[in-house]
């Protein structure tokens, strides 16, 4: 069973201009994306900033309206034009945001932050919710002495634990983790990821992991989607993607990451990501691709399948 199944999803943001706010163009944040996540799987979406990965995560949960396409949650199709069609699924699909300094209400105590979803979804009643909050805090490794404190009293890592506790309290089936570790220090980063993995195992969660950090993603994912300029350019099981990337962009991304190995210098991918408003014709990556040929100007390539890898490239690497 697919816990999440997205077909041909588009999320366009209109750009308005002039006195009458006429729509002059669209930012094509998510442009024809198909993706699925099976039950119990950890799937990562990676890409550079502005490639649409966060928008994809938000659109999948109905937090940003989709322009077109189909979304099915647990095999049930959602009417993407109607906000309320997501409502029955809110309990099962949760999200943890990147910045724990802005995702927690500074005027609410930890008790309030954690008890709210529990009461809203009737997991606990007013009488016994305290017990539920305490159990949650212990579960994510926070001292229960902190119950009456406000978010400002916590460090980044602790705040992210609170955000995780809030998400898992109502026993969801899937969590979208949007850059959960990137605001944290390296020594704490691994703690948070390990906590998520442990919870995933205990609760049989599915995780959609949105990140720009390929080396982090490698350690945890079952499958990885690589996004560039609103499009998925490659999807593959984690081991295949790192061993033999098929898309030139994936290869460039992998080679540009600095490692501790001083004999292997990061390779340079020239140029910068083009604007998502005026997409280049043909393959979206061609302006930076060192293998680009005439064919690449025609239209954006369809996916081809090589083993378990799907790649959108006319000349996949071998």
């Amino acid at each position: 069973m697919n816990i999440l199944d997205i077909q041909n999803l588009h999320t366009f943001f209109p750009i308005t201009g002039g006195v009458f706010s006429k729509i002059t163009g669209y930012i094509k944040a998510v442009n024809d994306v198909s993706l699925y996540i099976k039950k119990g799987e950890i799937v990562s979406v990676v890409g550079e900033s502005g490639c649409g990965k966060s928008t994809l995560g938000l659109t999948a949960l109905g937090l940003t309206p989709a322009s077109s396409g189909t979304i099915a949650l647990a095999d049930k199709k959602i009417d993407i034009k109607k906000q309320h069609s997501w409502k029955p699924f809110r309990k099962d699909y949760q999200i943890i945001f990147q910045d724990p300094f802005t995702s927690l209400n500074p005027r609410h105590t930890i008790y309030k932050i954690l008890s709210e979803p529990l009461l809203l979804h009737k997991v606990y009643t007013r009488k016994n919710v305290r017990e539920g909050v305490i159990r949650l805090m212990e579960h994510v490794g926070l001292s229960t002495d902190y119950l009456r404190r406000f978010p400002h009293a916590f460090s980044g890592g602790q705040r992210q634990r609170i955000a995780i506790a809030r998400a898992i309290g109502i026993k969801p089936k899937m969590i979208v983790c949007d850059e959960v570790a990137s605001a944290l220090d390296v020594s704490v980063q691994a703690q948070i990821i390990q906590l998520l993995l442990q919870l995933k195992k205990e609760m049989n969660l599915s995780l959609m992991f949105i990140s720009h950090d390929l080396s982090l993603v490698k350690a945890i994912s079952d499958r990885i989607y690589v996004m560039y300029l609103g499009k998925i350019v490659e999807s593959a099981p984690s081991s295949d993607l790192f061993k033999k990337p098929k898309h030139p962009y994936t290869q460039a991304l992998l080679n540009s990451i600095p490692t501790l190995n001083r004999n292997k210098k990061p390779a340079i991918l020239s140029g910068e990501v083009p604007s998502p408003i005026n997409l280049p014709s043909g393959c979206v990556f061609k302006s930076r691709c060192k293998y680009a040929k005439e064919e690449c100007d025609r239209k954006h390539p369809e996916f081809s399948t090589i083993g378990d890898t799907h790649v959108a490239c006319y000349f996949p690497l071998s």
Binding site: S187, K218, L260, R262, P266, I268
Partner: protein, 334 residues
């Protein structure tokens, strides 16, 4: 090989560009002075890229700001120590003298290029400002255009006429590098120069920075939390934890054999892209806040090798030609 050795010794014999000695900086709070750095000492040699690595809040940025005398005022105070630029004591310079040091002798590249540039002025004005202040002679315009061309803009005139918001993060950082290099300073402080950028752009910017560093033969104080970047680009590094330098080492020996338990933890916490089955290891506990700094070794609560001696304060001591470490594990061996 012999060539390398000769090079090394010639570096060792030269006078340091920058000498920071026993630098202690404190915040003035309602509860009195809270020390953020505790007797930080290091030297940067000519032509060297010196990495300063540590997690957020460890005092690395505040150390950099103190070298330029840009500490937030009022509220911060240098309570002890000295900073020498070649043989001039920076801390005793007057305000005007200090202004002539900034940009001319020490260049600075900040973390957020979008925040470091004035949003209301075109790029050209911001570049020319430096030339004007330091009374640079003629053909300024030509020089500025050349410089922008050098940092990778094929069309400098268009960039000069643009405002910062019209340029991308990578382009802005190129402009920042151009500003830092304009007057060929003998030291460049680069504080997290690529943290706000994407990995593919990060590699471009680092490569450019290193290339320019070689071209004008300057030294770089390279501050970052990213150990892999330091490993790729620096010659020597110092690791900071909770306001103290806990290890100083040259890069090759650091990566193969880190001395301080914290350094080892940092290296192990990096997910390894090359290993078949990467494991994530973490350091237990949290980075302490300056007001909670405890007595003795500040890493001891998170250290798996802590023993009874660690309640004393470890001093930075030499364990080899270029290695220094502040840890009692090495005292035992000596």
């Amino acid at each position: 090989m012999r060539h390398l050795i000769r090079n090394r010794s010639s570096i060792l014999n030269r006078q340091p560009v920058l000498t920071v000695k026993d630098l202690t900086i404190a915040f003035e709070t309602e509860e009195g002075l809270v020390e953020i750095t505790d007797k930080v000492s290091f030297e940067i040699l000519p032509g060297e890229i010196f990495g300063l690595v540590g997690e957020s809040g460890c005092g690395k940025t505040i150390t950099a700001l103190s070298i330029l005398r840009l500490l937030p005022q009022p509220g911060t105070k240098i309570t002890s120590g000295s900073i020498f630029l070649k043989d001039r004591n920076i801390l005793s310079l007057s305000y005007e003298q200090m202004r002539s040091v900034r940009g001319k002798e020490i260049g600075m590249i900040f973390q957020e290029p979008a925040a470091a540039l004035n949003p209301l002025l075109p790029v050209k004005k911001q570049l020319m400002e430096l030339f004007d202040y330091h009374k640079f002679p003629d053909d300024k315009e030509k020089r500025v255009a050349e410089l922008l061309h050098r940092v990778g803009f094929p069309d400098p005139q268009r960039i000069l006429a643009s405002y910062p918001h019209e340029l991308s993060g990578g382009m802005l950082q190129r402009v920042m590098i151009a500003i830092a290099l304009m007057l060929s300073p003998s030291l460049i402080i680069a504080d997290e120069p690529t943290t706000a950028l994407d990995v593919t752009v990060q590699a471009q910017i680092m490569e450019l920075l290193i290339e320019m560093q070689r071209e004008i033969d300057t030294s770089i104080l390279f501050i970052t939390h990213n150990l892999s970047l330091i490993a790729q680009y620096a010659n020597r590094l110092a690791v900071m934890y909770a306001g103290r330098i806990v290890e100083e080492n040259d890069l090759d020996s650091f990566i193969n054999n880190p001395l301080h338990p914290y350094s080892r933890g940092l290296i192990e916490a990096l997910p390894d892209l090359n290993s078949e089955n990467p494991q994530l290891k973490s350091i237990p506990g949290q980075v302490p806040q300056p007001k909670d700094y405890s007595f003795g070794c500040r890493f001891r609560e998170r250290c798996n090798k802590a023993f009874e001696l660690c309640t004393d304060k470890p001093e930075l001591m030499s364990t080899g030609d270029t290695q220094k470490v502040a840890c009692f594990l090495y005292k035992k061996e000596l």
